[in-house]
């Protein structure tokens, strides 16, 4: 069980729900920020733990009682009314101030745009004459997908939902695919055989989509953690 799915363990859910309720007297943005920090802490401490009850209990013990965390949050605030009763049903945290580029619509939009870009480039790749240089190929294949590729790039680079390395991967995806496929085909023996070419192409498509899916899921999870 990785850290992300550890957050769905019933003991963890119960803890976070109780904490959310205790933090009810706080400004929603602050409440969400504390919950996010604690959630990420648990993800990290339970990563690679196998998600056993023992591991979860141990992690929650180290975290300390939810009441202690809430006390720390209310420290120095004087007369804040703090709720006492436990909640009825789990409510996900809401944040008022999340940057637009970190919202949950960003990952799907980027994946759709990059997919369209890949399709358009693939189309050009198919119809390109042999003997075209790589640079010329790159330009003619990437150009038609500009209306989708450029916004996807900008959004990816600006968004806080991907790390630096992930952004590099997403940016390199289209050019890598466009140049990589013909390069591999040229490199392989029997490369001029259409079957070989098609196989390389198909494998590259699968690889590109695998990367897209993994990156999108990571970003979607981070967006979820921010907005609930």
């Amino acid at each position: 069980m990785n850290g992300e799915s550890a957050l769905r363990h019933p003991l963890v859910t119960r803890y976070l729900t109780e904490l959310e309720s205790l933090l009810g007297g706080l400004h929603p943005a602050e409440r969400a920020e504390v919950l996010t920090g604690v959630g990420e802490h648990l993800e990290e401490s339970l990563a690679g733990s196998g998600g056993s009850d023992v591991a979860v209990r141990s992690a929650l013990d180290e975290l300390g009682p939810a009441t202690a965390v809430a006390d720390a949050a209310y420290d120095g605030r004087g007369q804040v009314v703090r709720p006492a009763a436990p909640p009825a049903a789990p409510v996900t945290p809401r944040v008022r101030v999340v940057p637009a580029t970190s919202r949950s619509w960003v990952p799907p939009l980027v994946v759709v745009f990059l997919t369209l870009s890949l399709f358009l480039s693939a189309g050009v790749l198919f119809s390109t004459l042999e003997g075209t240089g790589y640079v010329e190929l790159l330009v003619t294949a990437v150009l038609p997908s500009f209306p989708f590729w450029v916004p996807a790039l900008v959004l990816t680079l600006v968004s806080a939902l991907w790390t630096g390395g992930e952004k590099v991967l997403l940016v390199a995806l289209l050019p890598g695919f466009t140049v990589g496929v013909p390069f591999l085909v040229d490199l392989l023996p029997f490369g001029s055989d259409p079957v070989v070419g098609l196989t390389v192409f198909a494998l590259a498509v699968v690889a590109a989509f695998a990367v897209l899916v993994v990156m999108t899921r990571r970003a979607a999870h981070r967006a979820d953690v921010l907005v609930g």
Partner: protein, 119 residues
């Protein structure tokens, strides 16, 4: 009638209130750290902090005050994580805290010793 005498934890929690924020800033001065790392360091001897979770409201306050910033980054040990870093304003505040603290600590030490209490 019985009188409430503050216990060890109670006294400690009051003392922490004055200094813990600056301890967090001090831990970030040399390099950024992620949440779990900070929490483990601070709870190591259980004096500065007794439970890891109390770090997060503190970090939220520090971030809102503009003394700490956060960013996502890859890690060599697993999935990417959120790192906390000290800002310029945070460094300024820490620089002002340190001499103030030293003076305060010395003054308390001096008085407590003179009073004959265990030091």
């Amino acid at each position: 009638m019985c009188r409430m005498v503050p216990g060890h934890e109670h006294i400690l929690s009051h003392l922490r209130r004055g200094a813990l924020e600056y301890c967090v800033l001090a831990l970030l001065v040399d390099h950024e750290r992620y949440g779990l790392e900070l929490a483990r360091e601070l709870t190591h001897q259980e004096v500065l902090m007794s439970s890891e979770g109390t770090l997060y409201p503190l970090l939220a306050r520090l971030r809102r005050a503009g003394w700490v910033s956060t960013r996502w980054s890859e890690s060599t040990e697993g999935p990417p994580r959120r790192y906390y870093a000290i800002t310029t304003a945070g460094k300024d505040v820490l620089a002002r805290f340190v001499p103030t603290w030293v003076g305060f600590r010395d003054a308390v030490d001096g008085v407590v010793r003179v009073g004959g209490g265990a030091a």
